[in-house]
């Protein structure tokens, strides 16, 4: 790697790693060392691990048929459905919980339907509820990542397969399986890490303290036991788990090695009747599963939209501005890191680290660091912006990395031979060929910043209010209807942002 390319990556990596590790070190320093974990912490660790692993596995397994169906089929609303695939995992947890329970809860639509049919009702509370919620959050992300994988198989290879008379099984073996081998470990890793830091959702859907995650144990150490040392020890465990997962995923990832195509329009292989039915079922089920809770949130909130006080709209504007800034920062960090990552493991590790950061530890540590130097109030907005950006960095990296790999495999040689370097390479080669994942990553980053609450509360001064904060304030003062309206607004804005950026990316794609 040339120094010109390594430098921005090294800077971005240092920023991301420092953002996670320095606060942790500050908390450990303040605590005067680490404290021993309790037996309950061990149980929380075990529960966290297996639910995250199972959630990741299931999300990925289910994503394959859904992505395949979306890849092969053309139907009205397909674009909208694919766009919608970004929405669920970006909702604030309280909104998602109430949406899921409106469908799968004791008094939810599903049980109402079962009751009408005279069938026994189902309880969503328990480990299966945690998994269900996590699949709801993450299936869309996995589906989009796998779909990108399918779309990245050059049409020349599909034509070759067709010309060789390969049947579905052979196509699977020679084209789809290598693609999945390249895409799925990264997708599973991202989902595993998301579920690792799950807290509120796991607790509610898990039905109680059996569903205690590490993040909740950290919360308890901080708030209930006032034991900073144990909180820091747990946070360290989280970081270690993330690094181990990263190493494991790297071992399982194999480059697909399809080589470059000529960007000819993709022609999915025509499929016979039975697969049609299978595809149709996959799409219908996934759409119903994802759309029903979102619909419930919209239905509950729409009537209250008109009654929202002006302060909620101001909060929405603040959130939008923050999202715009944090999106730019995310891309500025993610692009150099993902370009460096195929050759430098440290770049990938640095970009994935923020996902393992505990918001509570992060906030406390940043405060401890900033406090002696400058009033944290003065840093409120920049810190929120940078932390939000760092939190969406792992997603951006995962989306960019597969395409960066093929970009480099296919065109590094030619670019080098033509002396296409520096900004010219960025403008003429990197940006055009990465437009699609860049747009998607930007959409994710913007939506993530819109919905994230944990970060903004770290440095909120009670005056600059964001939309999620306003939503919580409304709920906290019994205004459940207005809160539902704010949730609906938040969902709508988040989705609109995501959709717009994703679309810009797809339109900027020269293919």
């Amino acid at each position: 790697m040339s120094p010109a390319r390594a430098l921005p990556a090294a800077l971005a990596a240092m920023l991301a790693a420092a953002l996670v590790l320095a606060p942790l070190a500050a908390v450990i320093g303040r605590a005067g060392g680490l404290s021993a974990l309790t037996r309950a912490d061990g149980a929380a660790l075990w529960f966290t691990l297996w639910q995250a692993a199972l959630s990741a596995l299931l999300s990925c397994l289910l994503a394959v048929p859904v992505a395949r169906a979306l890849y092969r089929r053309r139907f009205p609303g397909r674009e909208a459905l694919i766009a919608l695939m970004g929405a669920p995992f970006l909702l604030p947890s309280i909104v998602a919980i109430l949406g899921l329970i409106a469908v799968f809860g004791r008094r939810g639509a599903l049980n109402a339907a079962l009751g009408t049919l005279g069938l026994p009702t189902l309880s969503v509370y328990g480990a299966h509820g945690v998994i269900l919620a996590h699949v709801f959050f993450n299936l869309p992300l996995a589906t989009r990542m796998v779909l990108h994988g399918w779309q990245a198989i050059p049409s020349e290879r599909l034509r070759l397969a067709a010309s060789l008379g390969l049947g579905p099984a052979e196509v699977t073996r020679h084209l789809e399986r290598p693609m999945l081998r390249a895409v799925l470990p990264g997708a599973a890793l991202a989902i595993f890490l998301v579920c690792l830091s799950s807290f509120a959702v796991a607790l509610v859907l898990g039905g109680g303290p059996r569903a205690t995650t590490v993040e909740l144990a950290i919360y308890q150490a901080f708030r209930f036991d006032a034991d900073l040392g144990r909180a820091a020890a747990l946070a360290l465990v989280q970081v270690a788990l993330a690094l181990a997962a990263l190493a494991l995923a790297a071992r399982f990832t194999l480059p697909a090695g399809f080589g470059a195509g000529l960007d000819r329009p993709g022609a999915p292989l025509p499929a016979p009747g039975l697969r049609r039915i299978k595809d149709g079922a996959a799409i219908t089920l996934a759409a119903a599963f994802l759309i029903a809770p979102l619909g419930a949130i919209a239905l509950r909130g729409l009537p209250a939209l008109a009654d929202l006080p002006p302060s909620v709209w101001h909060a929405a504007a603040t959130s939008l501005a923050l999202a715009a800034g944090s999106t730019l920062v995310t891309l500025a960090l993610a692009l150099p890191l993902s370009l460096a990552a195929p050759r430098a493991r440290w770049a990938e590790a640095a970009a994935m680290l923020p996902m393992a950061a505990s918001p509570l530890v992060l906030g406390t540590g940043l405060f401890l660091i900033a406090r002696p130097v400058v009033s944290p109030t003065a840093l409120a907005l920049p810190v929120t912006l940078i932390v939000n950006a760092a939190m969406s960095l792992p997603f951006a990296l995962r989306l960019l990395l597969p395409e960066v790999r093929s970009l480099q495999a296919d065109y590094d040689r030619l670019a080098a031979a033509l002396n296409l370097t520096g900004l010219a390479r960025l403008r003429l080669l990197t940006l055009p060929r990465l437009a699609r994942p860049l747009g998607f990553a930007a959409g994710i980053a913007a939506a993530f910043s819109m919905g994230d609450l944990g970060v903004i509360t770290l440095f909120s001064d009670g005056r600059t209010q964001t939309l999620p904060l306003a939503l919580y304030a409304l709920m906290g003062s019994y205004r459940m209807d207005q809160a539902a309206g704010a949730a609906c607004l938040l969902m709508g804005l988040t989705f609109a942002l995501f959709w717009a950026l994703d679309r810009i990316g797809r339109h900027a794609d020269p293919r």
């Binding site: 309950a40 309280i94 109430l98 329970i101 409106a102 004791r106 008094r107 939810g108 509370y125 807290f199 509120a200 607790l203 509610v204 859907l205 898990g206 039905g207 109680g208 303290p209 059996r210 909740l216 919360y219 308890q220 901080f222 708030r223 209930f224 006032a226 302060s311 918001p359 509570l360 906030g363 406390t364 940043l366 405060f367 406090r371 009033s375 944290p376 109030t377 003065a378 609450l453 944990g454 970060v455 509360t457 770290l458 440095f459 909120s460 001064d461 009670g462 005056r463 209010q465 904060l469 306003a470 919580y472 304030a473 409304l474 709920m475 906290g476 003062s477 019994y478 205004r479 459940m480």
Partner: protein, 329 residues
């Protein structure tokens, strides 16, 4: 009464004073306090009328921030602390006596603390919708003895929510040594446990649970603000656990007179007369006319239960283990 409980520590200090003549009083308060729907705006307007000062709220997790800042804290006054953190706050030695006559308080329990001053209170209770729940439990024992499918309840997690911790202590106060058994009987009726009050209350208003752990004063909001008298608190003869919010001034304050003025204001008629509907709780001094219609008619428990700070500190660890064990089965 409102439960904020935002995730994560809100760690802020006051913004630097603007170039104004008026002295600035910096008050650390929980997040929910300063929102348009919290009591903060009314308190700020009310106090600034008479103090000739600029009251600035800094919203966030009050005590964790002060613990981290130590004697360099910018706070003159901390408001909105709960009884669960008082022992820890006291141990810092950062707080000064409130200097008020606690004999004026009309709390249902005796309050003798000279540092922490309660400005409002309530009790925790299970709230239900009387049009939907036809056979509500008439006592804590009846609730425990009811079959598993009689009621489905949402409670808050004692590790993350003060109301959840209050429930632990409530069960301890009523059942003492037998609290573990009580939890084993209650657990099957607990549909789920939430991180914060808001989620639990949302589950209740959305109809997912029959009862929610909230406050005896919760129905007042629905009566007064929504003209809805279907939400009621189940009043148990065993008594209800006390819940209060307190304020304290800091020794390190550069504005001790102003801080003292603020403590005086907290017990003034102006403040006490408006806190009921500003924070949906009882004022700590009840005089005629302080309780709006809707509050006055709320059913009151015969007994209010409360552990001293030291008792509560000693009990909560073992109580948490009993709680965890009951849900582990």
């Amino acid at each position: 009464m409102k439960k904020p409980l935002m995730l994560a520590a809100c760690l802020m200090v006051a913004s630097p004073a603007l170039a104004e003549d008026k002295p600035v009083l910096t008050v650390y308060a929980p997040d929910y306090f300063t929102s348009e729907w919290g009591p903060g705006p009314a308190i700020e307007a009310g106090f600034e009328k008479s103090c000739g000062c600029d009251l600035r709220f800094v919203a966030g997790d009050v005590l964790p921030r002060i613990l981290l800042e130590g004697d360099k804290t910018a706070a003159d006054v901390a408001i909105g602390l709960n009884t669960d953190v008082m022992a820890r706050a006291r141990a810092t030695g950062l707080f000064a006596p409130h200097g008020e006559d606690v004999g004026r308080l009309t709390l249902p329990i005796a309050w003798t603390d000279d540092i922490f001053l309660p400005f409002d209170w309530s009790e925790i209770a299970f709230v239900y919708d009387k049009t939907k729940l036809k056979n509500p439990p008439k006592s804590f024992q009846e609730l425990l003895d009811a079959p598993a499918d009689a009621y489905k309840i949402a409670i808050e997690d004692p590790r993350s929510a003060i109301s959840g911790l209050a429930l632990l202590l409530w069960v301890k106060a009523v059942y003492g040594e037998k609290a573990g058994e009580a939890w084993e009987k209650l657990a099957p009726k607990v549909l789920t446990v939430t991180q914060d009050w808001s989620t639990a209350y949302g589950l209740f208003t959305d109809g997912e649970v029959d009862m929610v752990l909230s406050f005896t004063t919760s129905p007042a909001y629905h009566r007064i603000a929504e003209n809805d008298d279907t939400k009621v608190a189940a009043i148990f003869p065993e008594g209800h656990y006390f819940y209060t919010e307190v304020a304290a001034q800091l020794k390190t304050s550069k504005q001790p007179e102003l801080a003292q003025k603020f403590m005086d204001y907290l017990l003034s008629d102006a403040f006490q007369g408006m806190i009921a509907t500003a924070n949906w709780s009882y004022p700590s001094i009840i005089k005629p006319g302080f309780l709006p219609e809707g509050f006055e008619t709320l059913p009151r428990p015969e007994k209010t239960l409360f552990f001293s700070e030291t008792e509560a500190e000693a009990l909560r660890g073992p109580a948490l283990e009993e709680w965890r064990a009951a849900f582990g089965k």
